[in-house]
């Protein structure tokens, strides 16, 4: 079956090359049949890459270790779900996933606009196929998913233990969907500039895809944060890791674009800004892919493999150069039709919001890429850590949340001071009450946290006011019952009220971030059985050790050969709160030189954290047990000397029993973080708001609204 996959790749490349040529020819000559043929090349590409992906997926599910990528990232003992998702845990598989998702989303986008913007769409088709050709070429010449070994090994290496976590397996498809969706607005933006058609139609066409990219990227980022918090042994959800930052940057510029395109739609302003944002977002998405796939990074995210840095740098260079050229050469067509009417207007607030978002992106960009560039020139590894990022991003985040509360209560075009005073009363009161309560609670020393809580309260006040007033207005107009009026209000104004829900979700998310960062209690302590320590107001007691061997005893299918942990009792004020069971998994290194027993536990040790999550706080714990004691190492040594190759697990059983009988002191890491759950809740609210905003209005409703709007437009001007 690898042969079928090997045929698919060059066929896909040929389709891309043909499609690029046909699309450009069709665009330049106006011959629609060639433009259509170019578009259909994208559909054909999707078909071929689906077959290729299917071949690879089948190889994983059938444990076909003749495929090198299957042998390197899967095994017979890997659970089926993880085996299915292991396709994209390797360099090669992830490149194929990227290309496949690009072909699918591009097909959908081009299908939806097939009767409109023919010349813009033709250029966009060529650009999207160009991206496809790039990734397929990487697979053909650098990292083929279909390379094989004959004879095939009997067993595979298995999946990286850190990736055996459900959200981690969904995270890459979400993130890659976000990245590939970012290329669609970029392609249409470049197409609009090439075709010299940069008005309302192309904005309308790409809005949904820009929103979808934003949504998928956001989900991917959130899943990654959740994985970091729940799986990695450091207890945090965001570490300003280069790859985390790489996904956040296009999300920030995408957020800015979604706001500023409303200004372009309504007022014909910010055309240069918008097209630059679209091109920047797409380029940042490619740069994000470059960081993860190029081999430039040595991090948990960079799955090693071939160095693809040079091709990516060339592609990014071309994108940047082409973007600058197109914007500069078409600047006459991008002049604004109007000016800002008033600084006290929603347009001005959106502009402020854009500046803050781009500033955030710039700070993160500098902190992420400067060390890499510095290392490339000086050869010395440099790093910029969380304190540097926090110094600049925290004030900007405060400003962002504040603006997200101001925007909803200001009118488009212009607002009067009298109106502003009336509209800000409730939000300001919310913020003030919050401030008083927090000061009374004695947390004045946490200035940034207090500021964030007050800003979030301001947002909650303004959004609640908007929903209340909108529902009241609807009821006055239509005489509907309260719940009916609320639903009808949202259905008639999905974009507005979906956006309000997103703002609320962001505020909630930042409350969780502020609380968990500023009021966290963390303790690292070495404890023996029966020992205890205090973490904030909680007491944690080490009740007893645990030790299990072989995967079938491992309830979470981590694949560890030995799992050593502890049972902990958590109490507060003498009352039992939770029982936690952190452990550390020891894995097979696959190195026979470490001995019959030694190799079984000589691989990467992975911490399995245990957590009691709640609405008000999370109690989190990790353990680093000590198996280097003389007694335990003697068991390993004797096993290495005396046991045959396939009976090393017998010694592990003896080791486990010895550990349970005479457990040495273990190193523990305890964290009590308030309001962490609100980060995930806030994320879900953002997702819900995004879905409301992006949900299409049924066409019958659209026609009815259009007819009423037409009649209303004529009313009062004596026209029918």
């Amino acid at each position: 079956m690898a042969d079928l996959g090997r045929i698919c790749l060059p066929l896909a490349l040929l389709i891309c090359v043909y499609g690029i040529g046909a699309s450009i020819y069709g665009a330049r000559t106006g011959r629609i049949e060639f433009s259509d043929s170019g578009r259909r090349s994208v559909y054909a590409l999707a078909i071929v890459l689906t077959v290729a992906f299917g071949v690879l997926e089948l190889a994983f599910l059938r444990n076909d270790f003749a495929f090198n990528t299957v042998a390197d990232t899967s095994s017979r003992t890997t659970p089926t779900f993880y085996r299915a998702a292991a396709v994209w845990s390797s360099q090669e598989g992830s490149l194929l996933l990227w290309a496949w998702l690009l072909s699918l989303w591009s097909s959908l986008a081009l299908f939806l606009v097939r009767r409109r913007m023919r010349d813009v769409a033709a250029y966009a088709t060529a650009i999207l196929l160009g991206f496809g050709a790039f990734f397929i070429s990487l697979m053909i010449f650098y990292a083929s998913p279909f390379s094989t070994t004959n004879p095939a090994p009997a067993e595979g290496v298995g999946l990286d233990p850190l990736l055996r976590f459900p959200t981690m397996m969904i995270h890459p498809p979400m993130l890659y969907s976000g990245y590939t969706l970012c290329t669609i607005p970029l392609a249409f933006g470049m197409g609009a500039l090439l075709a010299r058609r940069v008005d309302a139609d192309w904005i309308k066409a790409i809005r949904r895809f820009a929103f979808a990219a934003w949504l998928f990227l956001g989900i991917g980022i959130l899943l990654g944060a959740r994985w970091s918090y729940s799986e990695l042994g450091w207890g945090g959800y965001w570490g300003w890791d280069a790859v985390e930052n790489a996904s956040l940057m296009p999300w920030l510029t995408g957020t800015a674009f979604l706001h500023s395109l409303m200004i372009q739609e309504k007022r014909g302003m910010l055309k240069v800004w918008n097209v630059s944002l679209v091109l920047a977002t797409g380029t940042l998405a490619i740069m994000g892919t470059f960081l993860v796939r190029s081999g430039i990074l040595n991090s948990i995210h960079a799955f090693g493999g071939a160095t693809l840095g040079v091709p990516f740098v060339v592609l990014i260079g071309i994108l940047i150069a082409a973007s600058i050229y197109l914007v500069v050469s078409r600047r006459d067509m991008l002049r604004s039709q109007h000016r800002l009417d008033s600084l006290l207007s929603r347009e001005a607030i959106f502009l402020g919001n854009n500046i803050v978002l781009v500033a955030l992106c710039f700070v993160i960009f500098w902190g992420t890429y400067f060390p890499l560039i510095s290392e490339a020139f000086t050869g010395t590894e440099a790093s910029v850590g969380p304190p540097w990022f926090d110094r600049y991003t925290v004030p900007l985040a405060l400003l962002l949340v504040l603006l997200s509360g101001i925007g909803p209560v200001i009118a488009w075009r212009r607002a009067t001071f009298a109106n502003a005073r009336r509209n800000f009363a409730v939000p300001l009161l919310s913020a003030l009450v919050t401030l008083v309560v927090l000061l009374a609670a004695g947390v004045a020393h946490k200035a940034f946290a207090i500021a964030m809580f007050c800003c979030a309260a301001f947002v909650l006040g303004s959004i609640s006011q908007e929903f209340f007033r909108g529902t009241r207005a609807r009821r006055a107009m239509a005489g509907e019952a309260l719940p009916v009026a609320l639903v009808a209000l949202v259905r008639r104004n999905r974009r507005r009220y979906g956006g309000y829900v997103v703002h609320l979700g962001i505020a909630v998310l930042f409350v969780g971030v502020a609380a968990s960062s500023s009021f966290q209690h963390a303790v690292e302590q070495r404890l023996s059985v029966g020992g205890s320590t205090h973490v904030g107001k909680y007491t944690v007691r080490y009740v007893r050790p645990t030790a299990t061997i072989t995967p079938k005893n491992d309830a979470v299918h981590t694949g560890s050969t030995l799992n050593i942990g502890a049972v902990l009792d958590v109490s507060k004020g003498g009352r039992h709160v939770a029982t936690l069971s952190p452990s550390e998994g020891f894995y097979d290194s696959g190195e026979p030189a470490q001995g019959t027993v030694g190799h079984l536990i000589g691989g990467q040790a992975v911490s399995h954290i245990s957590m009691s999550a709640g609405v008000t706080r999370d109690v989190w714990t990790a353990i680093a047990p000590d198996i280097s004691t003389p007694a335990l190492q003697r068991i390993v040594s004797i096993g290495n000397r005396t046991l045959p190759a396939d009976e090393g697990v017998v010694a592990l059983g003896v080791l486990a029993r010895e550990y349970l009988k005479h457990p040495p002191a273990a190193q523990f890491h305890f964290i009590v973080s308030p309001l962490v759950m609100w980060i995930w809740i806030g994320g879900l609210i953002v997702l819900g708001g995004g879905l409301i905003a992006i949900w299409p209005t049924p066409s019958a409703v659209r026609r009815r609204v259009a007819m009423r709007s037409r009649a209303r437009a004529a009313h009062g001007l004596a026209r029918a």
Binding site: I7, L11, I15, I32, S37, N419, R469
Partner: protein, 125 residues
Amino acid sequence: MQILIAILAGVLLAVVFVVISAPLRAARSAERTGVPAEGEQARHSAASASYERAELEAARETKYREIRDAELDLRTGKLSNEDYEAIDSGLRAEALELLDRLETIDSERPANNAGPGNAKPKLEG
């Protein structure tokens, strides 16, 4: 197994060829059946009118949305009556101008499409 792969590859190639070539075959078929192709000028004129119409329709929908937004802003207390009247009448005038321009394009459309004929391939999707 090799035969199966060869068959699958052949089927895949055939599908790709059918999908990609369909518009080209449809255009050639239209030429052969004697339906003359559009002249280049007529094609460009039709395309221009189509683009202008699409732009105006997108602008019209945006304008309707702005009218509704302004009304909602008034009802939710973000706009004073005076500001609303000024903004609303401006928006309605802009909307009617867009409607007028659309009607002009529609009334000119038979003139744009006049000539030897329209052999645009019907196959889309």
